[in-house]
């Protein structure tokens, strides 16, 4: 609806400009700090105008934090989390909405439960699980005295030591972050709104469940998948505590962790200029995602409401 209300429109622009400034001021100062020399950045108060060291600092930060390696890691981890979570969730949401089987409700509640506990709270046991994911089987083997049983059967002494170590591997970084059911719920909710006629028609045509999933359900879900992918990518890229505790190999550090090593601490050189340049670098890919894919993201939301 268009009506003329020039004063209100100006107020609106003013509000939006204020909002944009609220967002941009911290980023601007990060840029200013990132463009100074180490001596200038220690001045009190900080200058309001940028210096001329921006490119040099970016370069230093890039090399010092080994961003060429850690960016790659972050991309792999963020994409892995995105793809993994979406695939796994689509499949399980399909299973619990379109099939009637005995343990359906049990499966549903198992998945539902996983919404409760963020990884920060269970981080040490999660580390154990990833360092040796075969540990539960080991307990089972010990509990059931498999070794004794074998000895009794065959007369041989064996030591059973199961091992499946995922420390410093991409799966180890990715899988625990996939272990929550948010996306499953999203897809479940969506599937519940898909018209039943589609499924009935598919069945009349003799299509198999997987055929239906692939040719009908999946294309219908595209806008949901895109919107969720963007959010998951950002979530994956910005992970902090888990990669920090988990990666013992420098070559496995993600960009946020590499940045963390640039932040000056009390007994090290106060190189805030490098740290801020690094921060800008580390937030560049997620920012680009928001800038370039925003249309998709909004489209996913808006399509349904137009």
């Amino acid at each position: 609806m268009v009506e003329r209300a020039p004063i209100l429109d100006m107020i609106c622009h003013a509000i939006l400009i204020a909002g944009a400034m609220l967002v941009c001021v911290p980023l601007y100062f990060a840029f200013v700090a990132g463009s100074l020399t180490i001596a200038e950045v220690q001045k009190v108060p900080l200058p309001w105008l940028p210096g001329d060291q921006f490119l040099a600092n970016l370069q230093t930060a890039w090399v010092k934090a080994d961003f060429s390696r850690s960016f790659l890691n972050s991309i792999v981890v963020a994409l892995g989390i995105t793809a993994g979570k979406i695939v796994v969730s689509l499949l399980s949401a399909f299973a619990i909405t379109y099939f009637r089987f005995r343990y359906r409700m049990l499966a549903f509640w198992l998945i539902f439960m996983s919404l409760m506990l963020p990884i920060e709270v269970r981080i040490v046991p999660t580390f154990e699980a990833v360092a040796n994911a075969a540990l539960p089987l080991q307990w089972l083997a010990d509990l059931l005295h498999v070794a004794d049983l074998w000895k009794w059967i065959s007369g041989h002494d064996v030591a059973i030591a199961l091992e499946w170590n995922m420390v410093n591997t991409y799966p180890g970084l990715i899988l625990p972050l996939i272990a929550s059911a948010t996306a499953t719920f999203l897809f479940r909710q969506f599937f519940l709104t898909v018209p039943d006629e589609l499924c009935e028609a598919a069945r009349l045509d003799g299509a198999s469940p997987l055929r239906f999933f692939w040719s009908i359900l999946l294309p219908l879900s595209v806008s949901n998948i895109v919107a969720l992918s963007i959010i998951l990518f950002l979530f994956g890229w910005n992970q902090y505590l888990w990669p920090l505790l988990f990666t013992t190999d420098k070559d496995m550090a993600t960009a946020v962790i590499a940045l963390k090593n640039l932040i000056p601490r009390s007994d090290s050189e106060p190189a805030w200029n490098i740290a801020m340049s690094g921060a800008l670098l580390a937030m560049l890919p997620p920012t680009l995602v928001i800038l370039l894919l925003q249309r998709w993201f909004l489209k996913g939301l808006v399509d349904s409401s137009k």
């Binding site: 990833v130 170590n165 000056p264 009390s266 050189e269 106060p270």
Partner: protein, 445 residues
């Protein structure tokens, strides 16, 4: 379904892993050094790796001390600890009684390395040894010293900072009153370490019973009955009068000093590397002040970290560990590390070497820490601190001191509360660890 294939591929059933046939034995060392210190540490490791062809040490920066500790705990519980880990002085009792570490002195003896443990500087040796044997390899030892801006003192008409807190207070107020600088001093980020703990040692004040915990787990804090209370009141007064500033998050206290805004700064001697590189001011350093009714002042105590050896590795790996620790303990290594970082040399031999080469003629402030640490004979109040869960008690104490700074509590009240909270934490530690540590007694072997 890729994932299934992947799981199938990864699942291996191993009976007894065979030792790797790699030419060089590789061992990991997790550490907490960042910035310049981290770069120097990497150089140290490269030096060792280049010095021989049997072993490779891999240094891994695992964040700050807390993060390293957590990393090693998680890894140990998951049965994949690194071979070596750098742990801060505050974690000493936790590591000692963990049942997860190998005593360093015994390891080196057993592998045939002749490290002269009696040659370590006293406060260093006494801090890191238990029942007379070194439990971890002292690596980065520091102590707080008093940094000051020479120009500011001269402008205010003083030669140098006074030796006692009382006179120093007058100087700082004069500096402020004459408008020489905006603030006399900065609150250090680790003020509990320098201005309360080391303050107690230097001024011969007990911090806890049973020789600050050296004589048993039954120790209790007593600093609410000592000069610590008036020290907290003094800091509060300085803050109120603007003589002291708090840098706060997002900024470092050191920058307030190096930028010339504040005239003095109590901080670790390990900042030498940074200050020499970054400070554009005319700076110098001296001993920490003491109370005017305490004479002579005692030694200060150390802070920093040591290298602990974790249990659960093969003999070949311990060969590598022992070779590396021996390298760290060598006087040449110590002198180099001392020079590039500002940490104190851990042995008398290394200190002597540095002196002989005239190092302190060019770098007089580098000697202060060693002299301050080794003055007099350490007594029960100055030998160091041996409290369980020392990080936790420190955080409780810090929070109570902050309650004074924010005018929510009086100093006496706050210290009473801090001691009460601290003692509860100590009792929990005692409950868990009573009777432990026997494996450390030489006669138990």
């Amino acid at each position: 379904m890729k994932k299934m294939a992947f799981i199938a591929a990864l699942f291996g059933v191993l009976a007894l892993a065979a030792p790797a046939q790699a030419a060089r034995v590789e061992v990991q060392w997790w550490h907490a050094m960042s910035g310049v210190l981290g770069e120097r540490l990497n150089e140290l490791v490269e030096k060792f790796n280049a010095s021989q062809d049997k072993y490779t040490v891999v240094a891994v920066a695992k964040g700050n001390y807390d993060e390293v500790t957590n990393g090693v705990i998680a890894a140990y519980r998951a049965k994949r600890p690194p071979e070596m880990v750098q742990i801060a002085e505050r974690g000493y009792m936790t590591m000692l009684l963990s049942g997860a570490v190998v005593p360093v002195q015994e390891l080196l003896d057993q592998k045939g390395y002749k490290v002269d443990f009696s040659d370590f500087i006293k406060p260093v040796a006494s801090f890191w040894s238990y029942k007379g044997r070194m439990s971890a390899m002292p690596f980065n030892s520091s102590t707080p010293i008093f940094w000051y801006n020479k120009d500011h003192f001269q402008k205010a008409g003083f030669d140098k900072p006074a030796a006692t807190w009382q006179e120093l207070e007058m100087q700082l107020y004069a500096i402020k009153a004459k408008g020489v600088s905006e603030c006399g001093t900065v609150l250090p980020g680790d003020f509990f370490w320098s201005l309360l703990e080391n303050y107690s040692a230097i001024n011969n004040q007990p911090y806890g019973t049973l020789a600050n915990g050296f004589d048993g787990l039954g120790t209790e804090f007593v600093y609410n009955k000592t000069k610590v209370v008036s020290q907290v009141a003094r800091l509060k007064k300085w803050l109120d009068d603007g003589v002291m500033q708090i840098a706060g998050q997002g900024f470092s206290p050191e920058q307030l000093f190096t930028s010339g805004r504040c005239s003095t700064f109590v901080n670790s001697t390990a900042s030498h590397g940074n200050i020499e590189r970054n400070a554009k001011i005319n700076w110098s350093a001296t001993f920490l002040p003491h109370e005017n009714d305490i004479n002579p002042p005692l030694n200060s105590t150390i802070g920093g970290g040591a290298i602990w050896v974790m249990k659960g590795h093969t003999p070949e790996r311990y060969d590598a560990v022992a070779a590396f620790l021996d390298f760290v303990a060598q006087a040449e290594t110590q002198v180099w590390w001392h020079g590039v970082t500002g940490y104190v040399p851990a042995t008398n031999k290394a200190y002597g070497l540095a002196r002989e080469r005239g190092y302190y003629k060019d770098h007089p402030t580098r000697e202060i820490a060693v002299l301050q640490l080794s003055r007099g004979t350490p007594n029960d109040n100055s030998r160091g601190f041996r409290f369980g869960n020392f990080v936790q008690t420190m955080l409780a104490q810090r929070s109570e001191v902050e309650a004074v700074f924010t005018s929510q509590k009086q100093p006496q009240q706050a210290m009473d509360d801090a001691v009460k909270r601290g003692n509860e934490i100590l009792r929990q530690f005692e409950k868990l660890n009573a009777g432990k540590g026997t494996e450390w007694a030489p006669e138990a072997k």
